[in-house]
C-alpha cells in the first residue's frame, strides 16, 4: 500500500520534475553561455517550462474540452490552455525581438559573443571616445 502511494506520487509529480528540470536548464544556459543566440535558446527553454507548469495540472487524462453533452463527463480545465496560448505569443514576440537585436548587434560589433562585445565597449571607454 505504502509502496503504491509512493509510486503514485512519483508518477503524479512526473511533469513537475520535467518542468523544474527545463526551468533550471534554461536559466543555466542564459547565465552560463556567452553566445547571444544560445542565451536566447536558453530563454526559450525557460519560458517553455512555464507552459508545462500551467498545462500539466489542467489536463485530465481522458478529459475533453468542456462540451455540454451527455456523452462527456470528464473535462479538462480550458483556462490555463488559453492563458498559455497568450504566453506562447508573448514568447514568440520576445524571441523574434531578441533575434532582431542580435542581428543589429552583429552588424554593429561584428560579433555575437558577449565577452567580445564587452571588451570592445571597455576599450572604447578606455580610449576616452565620447559617444
Amino acid at each position: 500500500m505504502t509502496g503504491a502511494t509512493t509510486s503514485m506520487t512519483l508518477g503524479g509529480h512526473f511533469t513537475y520534475f520535467i518542468t523544474i528540470f527545463l526551468m533550471i536548464a534554461g536559466l543555466f544556459i542564459v547565465i552560463s553561455r556567452s553566445n547571444l543566440i544560445k542565451k536566447l535558446v536558453g530563454l526559450g527553454i525557460f519560458q517553455t517550462s512555464v507552459y508545462l507548469l500551467y498545462i500539466a495540472p489542467a489536463k485530465l487524462i481522458g478529459g475533453t474540452a468542456p462540451i455540454l453533452s451527455d456523452a462527456f463527463t470528464v473535462y479538462s480545465n480550458p483556462l490555463p490552455h488559453v492563458l498559455i496560448l497568450t504566453a506562447i505569443v508573448v514568447g514568440v514576440a520576445t524571441l523574434a525581438l531578441g533575434l532582431a537585436l542580435v542581428v543589429r548587434i552583429r552588424e554593429a560589433y561584428e560579433s555575437i559573443e558577449e565577452d567580445e562585445i564587452l571588451e570592445l565597449d571597455a576599450r572604447l571607454e578606455r580610449d576616452g571616445i565620447e559617444q
Binding site: 525557460f46 519560458q47 507548469l53 490555463p80 497568450t86 531578441g98 537585436l101 559617444q131
Partner: protein, 494 residues
Amino acid sequence: MNLVPHLPALQVVIPLMAAPLTVLLRRRSVAFAVALIASWTALAIAVLLWLQVSHSGTITYAIGNWPAPWGIEYRVDRLNSFMLILVSGIAALVLPFSRASIEAEVPASQHYLFYTMFVLCLTGLLGIAVTGDAFNIFVFLEISSLSAYVLIALGRDRRALFAAYQYLLMGSIGATFLVIGIGLLYLMTGTLNLADMGLRIANVQGTRPVLAALAFITVGVSLKLALFPLHQWLPNAYTFAPSAVSAFLAATATKVAVYVLLRFYFTVFGASAVFAKLPMQEMMLLLALAGMFAASTVAIFQTDLKRLFAYSSVAQIGYIILGMSFDSVSGLTASIVHLFNHGVTKGAIYMLLGCVALGMGGTTLGRVQGLGKRMPLTSFGIVIGGLSLIGVPGTAGFISKWYLLLAALEKGQWWLVFMIVLSSLLAAAYVWRFVEAAYFQEPRKDTDEVATTPWLISVPTAILVIAIVYFGLDTSFTIGTASDAATALLGGRR
C-alpha cells in the same frame, strides 16, 4: 452614448488603437499628432477616473460584460488612479518633448515607429495599473517591456543595442518568474482575479506553493523594478536610450513595477502573511539600505550624467522599498508618495538632460562644463531636480523623505533615521559633481554657439520642473491620495 462607465477600458483601448494607426498613417507629423491626442486623452481619462474614485469609491468594470471573477475585471481604486495619473501625465509631457528631441537622435525614417512603440509602451503601463486580473498584468507587462526594448535600441550609440538586449534577457526572466508565481497562485486558489485571490488565499495561507509563489513574484518583480542587486540592466538602458525614452521609462516603468509588488503583497498575500512567514521584512530592509548606499556611491564616480542619475534611480528605489518594509500606514504612504515624487523628479531631470544633449552635444561631465553660463535655465532646472533627490525642503523629494523619517521614528528605529540622512549626503555628493562642472568650471571653447531649445522641448520640461516645486509645497493631492491608498491596502489597519 454615455462613455463615462467605460472610462477604465478606454484608458487602455485609446492608446492601444493609436498604435496601429501611427503605423498605417506613416507620415511622422500625422503619427505624432495621433500619439499626442492619444496620450492627452489618456491623461484626461486618468484625471476623470481619479475624480470619480475620490467621489464615489472603487470603480469596477467587467470586460465584455463577463462578471468577475470569471471575466477580466478592471478595478480602479485610489492607488491605481494615482499611478494612472503619474504614467499618463508623464507621457503627455514627454511626447511633445520627444518630437524635437528625436530629430537629433533617431533617423527620420523611424520616427513614426518611435511613436508606435511609445504609445504601445504607454498602453502596457496603463494596463498594468488599471487591471484587476493577475494574468492580464503579465500580458500588459510584456507589451510595455517589448516596446521599451525597441525604444532603447533606437539610441544612436551602438551600445544601446546591447543595453536593449541585456534588458530583454533580464526583463523576460523577471516576467517569466512573475508568471510562475501567478501560475502557482492560480493552482492553489483557482482564480486569477486579484481581489478574489486575496479572499481565497486565506484557506491555503502558508502552504509551500503559496510561499514559492511569493518568492517567485518577489524576485521577478524586483528584477523589473531594479531593486539592488537586480539592477544591472538599468544604468546602460537609461544611458544609451534616446533622451525622451530615458525620461519616460525612468519616470514610469520602474514605478509601475513597484505598484505590481504593492498590489501582490498587500491585496493578494496580505501584509501580515508576507511578513510573518518569511523574513521578508528584514530582507527588504537590507536590500533597500544596500541599494541606497551602494548605488549612490557608484553614482558619485560616474562621468556621464545620464548614467549618474540612472544609479541615483536605483538608490531612490531603495527608499520606496524601505517604506514598504515598515509594514505600516505611514511607511506605505511614504513609499507611494515617493513613487510619484521621484517619478516627477526623474522625468524632469532626464528631460533637462535631453536639452543638454541637444545644446552641448552630450551629457558627459566634460561636456557640461560651464553649463551655468551656456544654458542657465536648464542648468538651474537640473539643480532643482538634484535638490529634490537630496530631499531639500521646498522640493517634492523632501515630502517623501519626511514621511519616511516619520515612519522610521514611529517604529522607534533611530538608526534608520540616521541612515536615511547619511544616504541623502551621498546624494548631495553626486549632485555636487554636476554643480561643480556646471558652475565652477569655465565653458569649453567649442560650445560657444548653443542652439536655442525649441519651445516644444522647453515648455513640457519647465512644467515638470515647476511640478517638482509645486508638489514640494502643496501636498494635498499627493499625500492625500497616498495615505488613502495606504490605508486601503492595509485594510484600515493603523
